[in-house]
Every structure is written in structure tokens, then in C-alpha cells.
Symmetry: D2
Subunit: 327 residues, 4 copies
């Protein structure tokens, strides 16, 4: 199929390459002419404007917008919609908030356009491993686009089949690494929760390794201290333990490079998905202590001290005359 790839950053560029390798045609556009030139060198048709891109696409046109979440995505979708013909398809492959998807899909439907949201996991590893995709949209449009997703997805590969998964009943797509999750917004919603879980998993490992590291503390009685080899512990847990995972593989790799992780300051960023997951849970009245605590740990990692901590010190001083402990 012929796809207009709008946005040729690390994600968009590699997706375009994987699609071309899979036999699809790419019309490539980016504000950065160099990015376009590189993709043209790899076999794409280039475009210097959305108008030119439109002219090179089929009808219905398939637009894959792969831009950072936020205003730029919104504006680009608006611009494309302004040039679109009835039946054209706009795919947002970024990290949009799912309520924005719902709103956009309604608005575009009034114009006769189709909107598809694709949440992608796998990050920079996608060109090599394939992209795990969670997709929202109307049924007919998703069916039409199926060959595109099939190419981008990892495929079944050598990951063992899940026991209990019945042939003929279960959707094959999930086993290839993509799902049609539901109507517009459902794709990014599932991806959002994926990231919420990701935060929780990461924090669980982080706390565990913190406890291992802390066991050497000279605050402990001498006969209860252990100097543990975190590098080997991460490695051994990859091998048959209950907590083996891809995040553990990454941890093992980082620790193999430097068991002290000295290059990292530990000021941890968070993106919208973690926060939106908490919001969604609050709308549903679902308790999510772990996912929330994982987000808060990142906030805390980025400040030296909080005003709240000072309040605690002030109260302690007030009722007990306690002075603070030196750090």
C-alpha cells in the first residue's frame, strides 16, 4: 500500500523503512529536508509540502502522522484534514491522549474522513524487533489497513505460543504483535495503560535493587551486612526466575556495563501516559496505589527536598524540640 509518512524522526523514519522492506510505498514528508532526503535515499518518494504529498498519494489517501504528542500533532492533523478528500484516512501513530482521539475522530467523521490511533511500544528497538501496536478505529478502516500493521508488527517469531490460546477462535493479530483494540481512542488508551504498568514494573525493580544495595549499609549490624553483586543478581534472575522480563534484561545490561550506574544522576522524567493512567483510574474509581506511587517516585527523584519535608521538620521541632538530623 502507499502511505504518506509525516514526521521522519527516529520512530517515523524507521517505520517507513520497515514498511518499504515489507513491499509498501512511502511518500515521505518532514519539515527537515535532510530527513526527507535520507528516506528518499532508502527508496521513498519525497515531498516538500503536505500538498505535494497529497498529490503523490492514492485515493483514499493514507496519512501516518508520527510526531511528538501535543500541538504539532494537532496542527498537522488539522492541516491534512483541510486538504483531504472524502474517505481519506489519518493515522496518529504518536502518543496522543485518547480523549483527543475521540474528539478528533468525531470531528473528522463529519468531514467524511477516517481517524485511526496507533499506540506503539518497543521504542528504538522497533526497526529490528518490529513494533507492538495497539490500534483504535472503525472496523472497515482497520481491515483496509491490515497489511500495513502486519508489516510493522513483530510477527509471531520464536516467542512460544501461549497455552490455552485456541486456534480459530483467538484473533491471530495479537499473536503477531498488534490488536484492533476498539473504536477511535482505544488504541492509545491501551498504550497509555501499558505505560502505566511499565512505570510500576520499573519501580518494583528499582526498589528491590535499592534494598539489595542498602544491605551493605554501615547502619546495619556488622554481621548482617552483605556486599551483593547486583550485576550477577540481575543476570541470574533472567534465567528461569519468576521475575524475568525485558526490563530486567535491560537492567542486567546496564549493570553489566557499570554496576554502580555512575553515569546516571537518577533524575527521572515522566511523560503524559503515567499521569493519564492515574486520571483514568480516578474516573473509574479503581485503586492503583502502585502505579501512582511509581509516578510520584519520579517526581520526587527530581527535587532535592520538598517543602513538605520542611513542614515535617517544622512540626517535629514544634512538638518535641527535635532538631533535624544532618544528612
Amino acid at each position: 500500500m502507499k502511505i504518506g509518512m509525516i514526521g521522519l524522526g527516529r520512530m517515523g523514519g524507521n517505520m517507513a523503512r520497515r514498511l518499504m522492506r515489507g513491499g509498501h510505498q512511502i511518500v515521505a514528508y518532514d519539515r527537515d529536508a535532510d530527513a526527507v532526503a535520507k528516506l528518499v535515499a532508502d527508496g521513498a518518494e519525497g515531498a516538500v509540502s503536505l500538498d505535494e504529498a497529497r498529490g503523490k498519494l492514492d485515493s483514499p489517501a493514507i496519512w501516518w502522522v508520527m510526531l511528538p504528542a501535543g500541538d504539532i500533532t494537532e496542527q498537522t492533523i488539522d492541516a491534512i484534514a483541510g486538504k483531504a478528500n472524502d474517505g481519506d484516512i489519518i493515522i496518529d501513530g504518536g502518543n496522543s491522549f485518547y480523549k483527543d482521539d475521540i474528539r478528533r475522530a468525531k470531528k473528522l467523521a463529519e468531514q467524511g474522513l477516517h481517524y485511526v490511533d496507533v499506540g506503539t511500544s518497543g521504542g528504538v528497538w522497533g526497526l529490528e524487533r518490529g513494533y507492538c501496536m495497539m490500534i483504535g478505529g472503525d472496523d472497515a478502516t482497520l481491515e483496509l489497513l491490515d497489511p500495513i500493521f502486519d508489516t510493522l508488527a513483530p510477527g509471531t517469531g520464536d516467542i512460544p505460543r501461549t497455552p490455552n490460546r485456541a486456534d480459530g477462535v483467538a484473533d491471530k493479530r495479537a499473536e503477531k504483535g498488534y490488536i484492533f483494540a476498539g473504536p477511535p481512542g482505544a488504541g492509545h488508551f491501551v498504550k497509555m495503560v501499558h505505560n502505566g504498568i511499565e512505570y510500576g514494573l520499573m519501580q518494583a525493580y528499582a526498589e528491590g535493587f535499592d534494598v539489595l544495595k542498602g544491605k551493605a549499609s554501615d547502619k546495619l549490624p556488622e554481621d548482617q551486612r552483605f556486599e551483593l553483586n547486583l550485576t550477577d543478581i540481575a543476570e541470574v534472575w533472567r534465567r528461569g526466575s519468576v521475575i524475568s522480563s525485558w526490563l530486567l534484561d535491560l537492567s542486567a545490561s546496564a549493570l553489566a556495563k557499570d554496576g554502580h550506574l555512575s553515569q546516571f544522576s537518577g533524575h527521572v522524567a515522566d511523560s503524559g501516559e503515567g499521569r493519564w493512567t492515574i486520571d483514568a483510574a480516578m474516573e473509574e474509581a479503581v485503586p492503583i496505589n502502585v502505579l501512582a506511587a511509581s509516578l510520584f517516585a519520579r517526581y520526587r527523584s527530581r527535587v532535592d527536598t520538598t517543602f513538605g519535608d520542611k513542614m515535617l521538620s517544622a512540626m517535629r521541632y514544634g512538638f518535641g524540640g527535635h532538631v533535624e538530623i544532618p544528612q
Copy 2:
């Protein structure tokens, strides 16, 4: 009554004074001769050794041990027990772990001695406001000591009576500010949970003030920032709001002195009680997310960064090539 006060620090000294004002006699002992001298100046009989103190006490002797928790309390109780006569009473007024009380009471009972544990809240304010006491021991001993507790307690004062509290049914002692909580250990257990709650209350205020403070952040859209006067907010909440409390009074006082709390670094200590409360909850399988999070916030306040934070950074770098945000 005649009481041997062992340990004349801020707490022990003031308790002795309050007891003397209430008509009791004090035999005062401390390793620090100056502390003894000061109390003698206030009307106590001094002693230069436990032996001398023993000689000046009645039979049964009443010993009130008021020392920092830990080895020194244990050793002092052992030393007193070594000199005690059948029927003597040893009161631990410090912050001992309640399981130590249970153990000690059993051991002393075999010697014919009575053990009483008194958990005290009110800290440095006790001389003026009276001491709120939670007391464990055998019934007969507690009855015998009742006049002592009655003197130390705040009394009913001008605190309004609790609605629904029936005369003649409910124990008057609670309304005077002390309770016989149960057998040995029960006093310190109730005090321990008191401190666990205290941590939670403090952290709730701390987090709320942090959110108020953060509302001025330039990360927020300009039309959604407020520069709030925390000093006045703490004050107004003292006046008819649902969250008025003594801890809020203390907060208001600290903020009235300096709305930025600049003198405090925010490295917050914790004592055994917070941790023991978590332990007790785990033994009972009671979920206590708030009390635990309050304790952990104090741990976190005392370090710049955790190894766990570095783990998060390392994993993010691993799967997304994310570099850390500068602080």
C-alpha cells in the same frame, strides 16, 4: 506517693516536678549529678546511686524509669530488679518496644515484681499541659498507682466533653487524659500506634502544603498559577475547618515565624514507633498504605538520590535512549 524517678532529662525532670506540685514525693537519680541537684533544689530527695534511691523509697518501692529507649533502659531495669524486694513496681515511661515490655513483665513477675509500661504523648509541652498517658500493667498495680497518673495527666480541663459519652459507664480516666490500656505492653502498643498515626497526619499536611506551594510553579500555565499565603492558610484552617488540629496549630506557628521555613533543611528523622507500627500491621495483615508511605517519605527526605532512581534512568536509557533531564 513516693516515687523514685530514674532519669532526669527533659521528660523525667518535668514529670518529677509535676508530681511534686501534685503532692507526691520524689527520690531523684540520674548519672548526671547536676540534674539531680536541680531537682533537689525543686524539692526532691537526691540519690547518688540506685542503692541509695532504694533505701529512700517505701515498700513496695515505685520506680519510674525515664530513659531513652534501648540498651540503657534495659540495663537500668535489670539493675533495679537486682536490688528489688517482692512486690516492688518498675515503671518504664520511655518509648520501649511493646514486645520488650511483654518479655520483661514475664521475667519480673517470676521475681515477684510488677512491671508497668507508660507511653506518653505531649512531649516538651507536658509540664504545662499535662501528660497524655497510655498505660499497660496488671490491674491491681495500676489501681495502686492511680494517684500518680491522675497527677501527671492533663485532667479534664476546658476540653469539651465528647457527645455520647455516658456518665457512670465510661471510664473517667480517659477524660482526664490517661487510660489503663491492658496488660503489660498494651500501653506502649497504643502509644506506638499513636505515633504511627502522627506520622500519617503530619505527612497529609506536608503534602497538602506542598501542593499549595507548587501552585506558584512556572511549569504551570500563567493563568493557573497562584502565589498563596501559606501562613494565613494554616491560620484560617485552625478556625472552624474540618482539619483543625494541634499539629496544624504548630504548623501555623512555624509558618507565622517564617512562611518559607528557611531554617529547616527537610531531612526528617524517624524513631522506632513508626517502623514498629508497620511491623504490627504486617503481623495482623492490616493494610496501612498511608502510615507506611509517611514513614518512607522520611527515609526519602534524607538522601539526595536513591540507587533505585538510577535504575529507572538506566532502564529508560535502555529501551528508549532517553537521556536524563537536568535537575
Copy 3:
């Protein structure tokens, strides 16, 4: 002053009464004619419509809207604005979301109207104790309305003055129980955080009492069980302890009525403020583990089991063949 009180429920009716006692005049309107009649009997002028109310008010008219948060408040403010003259003042005394206040104030300002938001704590106790108020609006309007707030507020009463609070420097209003917190929205923002803190305080007590109650559990070794008298414990903590508070007073009263709280099922509701506080903290990147856990505990209280719990059981069965424990 003359105030149009729109909404004569428990809160609005009592506020109107307190204002009249303080010498103000009330024009009373409610959809429920009986509610109007009752207030007329207490000295108010009645109105059967907003139009009639407008006719009875001075210029600028002062409207106090006291309705449940949500659509009804929005619609009523719109309706009033449609009839308003330049310079009129609309006060929202309900529990609106502060971002709605910011939006409304901007819109009304374009019409030449003034908008004031008042967050109130003290609930059903306000008629007797006075209303603790956190107020947002433009300076001139708040100054104009000052006599109204002064009447509604508790006044300094017999609450001891905060140490360190300097005469002549500090705003007297806070000591009377109300503050001008900032521009429109600031009042409800401060009230919102107040409720967030309230959740945290309540949960801290709840967890502590849970640990006390659980100490009688027959899961514990027999010599480590205590049957504690929760009624007396709540009472004694009111008397000089660090954790005395109004919420503890209420707890003591409830426990004095029934130490088992048998009439309560423990399905705990939450209102918008708790959730909005989490949202605000996330916008500011402030960690609030305690406030969030307090909200989540309420969600959890309202369901028998979560799907998440079943997931845990399923995983345990998967890796260990563990069967669930019977409840």
C-alpha cells in the same frame, strides 16, 4: 448589606440565617417554595424567580449562589449573568472546580461582572461555629464584600492566638476564620487542597484504629493479643496528645456511641476535591503518596473484590500452582 441567596439547602439556608443575625438583609430564592417560605419566616424577603430577586437587590447586586457543584451551578450562574447589570457580583459558595472559576471569572469580566469563589469548611456545624472560608476574587470586590465574610466567619472566639503571629503585619481576617486567597479560583483551590488533606488525616486515623482493632486477632500468638478499648483510646488522645484534632473529636463521639461502629458498612464515598487534588499535584509534579492512597482506599472500600485481585490469584496459580486461600 443586601445579598441574594440562591439555593436554600442546608448550607445556603443556614448561611442566610447567620447573615441576617449579623444585620444583613437577604433576598431568598430556591426552586423549592417551601424552603423560601421558611426563610421568609426567619426574616428574609422571598422571591419566586431570579427576575424577582434581581428586582429586590441593590446595585451592584450581590448574588450568593449556594448549590451543589456541577451543571446546576453553571446554569444558574449563566442565568444570573444574563440578567445582570454592569458591576454586579456573583459569588459561588459551592464546591466548584477551581478551573471552572478561572474560566467563569474571565467570561463574566468581559460582561463587566465580578466573580467570587468561596470554599467553605465546617459543613453542618457552620451555623453554630461559623464558616471557615477561603475566598478568591479581585481585590476591590473582596474588600467590598468584607462585611459579609466577617459575619459568616467564626471570629477569633476562644481559640488561642498562634505564637509568632505579629500584630499589624499579619492579616486579621485569617484569625477570624476567612482569607482572601488570591484571584478567582484561588478560594476553591485552597478549599480543594483542604479536602485532600482531610482525606489523608482521616485515613491516618482509620489505619491506626485498624491496627489497634487487629491486635485482638486470633492470628497472633496468644500472649501478644490485646483487646483494646477503642472508645477510651480515642478519648484519651483528645487530651494533650500530639494527634488531637477535630476529626479525632468526631471519632471519639462515634466510638462513644458504639465502639464497634456497627451501623456503618464502610463503603466510603468521595467527592471531586480529593481527585482534583491529585490532578493538581500531578500538574505540579508534587509527590503525594498519602493523599492519593487515601483516595484509593475509598475506592477499594466500595467493591468486594477487584479484577486486579483475580489477576494476582491467576498469576500465583500459574507459577506456583497456588490455590487461593478461603476467606
Copy 4:
């Protein structure tokens, strides 16, 4: 090598079988004669008593005790020690608390005996996948036992090698699935933290799936509800996503069998390791909000309502006249 396997339950029996397949000899003992008979049928020498077992072992004797944690393990180790010769080795392969290991190792060392603690992950899957082992003991003893661990471990298999792991520098054992973690106790300590992490990972998935499930709730506005296929979501996340893991594999399998998990009540047990991890973190002053919240979620899953919840209801009734919401 020749090993006395004491305790032939699911774990001990299969370990013995794996050892025999690897060329080792087993002297098998269990209180259950049938269990012994089965293992004899598989090639082991049987023993009807510890004495008989001792007689059939070499010198130094190697004892592998594989019993449920607690008193029975302690007693068995004592019994074996009572019959042991200088230089004999006792291995505790169960789930003992690491402080018990430290204590035992000291005591046995005084008798000239060696103590080794082995924490094992992989549960019922070990016979097939091999046992991931974390081992504590003195260096010489661990070296001596290396062939045993090598046989029990999974081996490198087809798990890809960790990038950055340098040949010749890094310990090969970790890549085969076992480590010498440190002195006695270190094995069970690492295994304990492993389980703490496991709780956190499980809870992160559980909460995420809860949010997915809750998105169909009719509490939400109709245009914001999704009926998501949890079975396919779990499957797709196994395929190239950041959150792929063995626990997710198990979840996918359970959901493939029944997307509603109807057979599970969701009353989730916990074993000692989760609690001990919290204890260890508190001793080290390491904040572990996620690991603790994961444990508390299990406690909460096992009760319908908590007394704390009733306290919240009672307070709300007290300050606002709020009645509880029906469930």
C-alpha cells in the same frame, strides 16, 4: 556427587530427579514412605530414617533439606546436626528467613559443620526449566558443591547473552542461572528481595488490567467507554512491548483460558518474603512504596471491609451528616 535429599515434596522430589539425571546419586528420605518409594523407583537409594540416610552418605555428608519454612526445617536441621561429623554440609533449600540462616551458620560452625542457604525461583516449572538459585555459604563449601548447582540450574540455554557482559571477567555461573551471593544468609536474602519485586510486578499488572476492565464501566460517559479484550491485550504485550515478561506470559495464559478469570475469588495469600522485604527496607531506611503497597493490596483482598473503612464513614457522618453510599 552423593546428596541426601530430606523432604521429597514437589520441590525436593523434582530436584532429586534432576540431580540423578545429571549423574548425581541421591539418598532419599521423607516422613512419607510412599514419597521415598517413588524416588527409589526413579533410581535413588531410600532411607527410613535420618540415621539410615547418614549411613549411606559419603564423608563429608551433603544434606539438602527441602522442607516448608518454619519449625519443621529448624528441627530437621537440628536433628541432622546432632548426627553429623566434622565437615558435613547442611543445605537449606527452602524459604527460610535469612537471619535464621545467619544464626544457624554460626551455631553449626562451632560444631565444625558447614551451612549453605539456597533460595530457588521457578517453582513447579523447575524440573523442566531448571532451578534459578541464589546461594549463600562459605567460599570453599560452595566451590565443593558447584557440580550440584550446575546440574540443578537451567544452564545458558537459548536466552540471549546480556550485552556488555564481558567474557573472562563476569562470573559464568550467573549466566547458567545460579550465583554465589555471599556468606550464609545472602542466598535467602537475595531470594527474599526477588519475591518482594515479584509482588510489585504482579500488582503493577493487576492494577493495569483493572484500569482496562474498568473502562467499560457504566459510570463513565457513554462515548468514553471501551469494552476491551483483555485476553488479546495480554497477548499483544508479549510481542515486542516494553512490558513483556514471564509473569505476563502466565497472565496471557490464564486470560486465554477465561477472560473473566471467573474461577478465582481474588483472595490473595502472601508468604513471609514480602513482609521480610519490607522489614529489611525499614532496617536500611530505604523507601519502598511500591513493594509495600503490593503487600497491603493482598491483605485488603482478603477482607470484605476494614474497621478503618467504618471509621471513615463514621467521621464523614460526624462532620457532614453524610450517609454511606449503598454498594
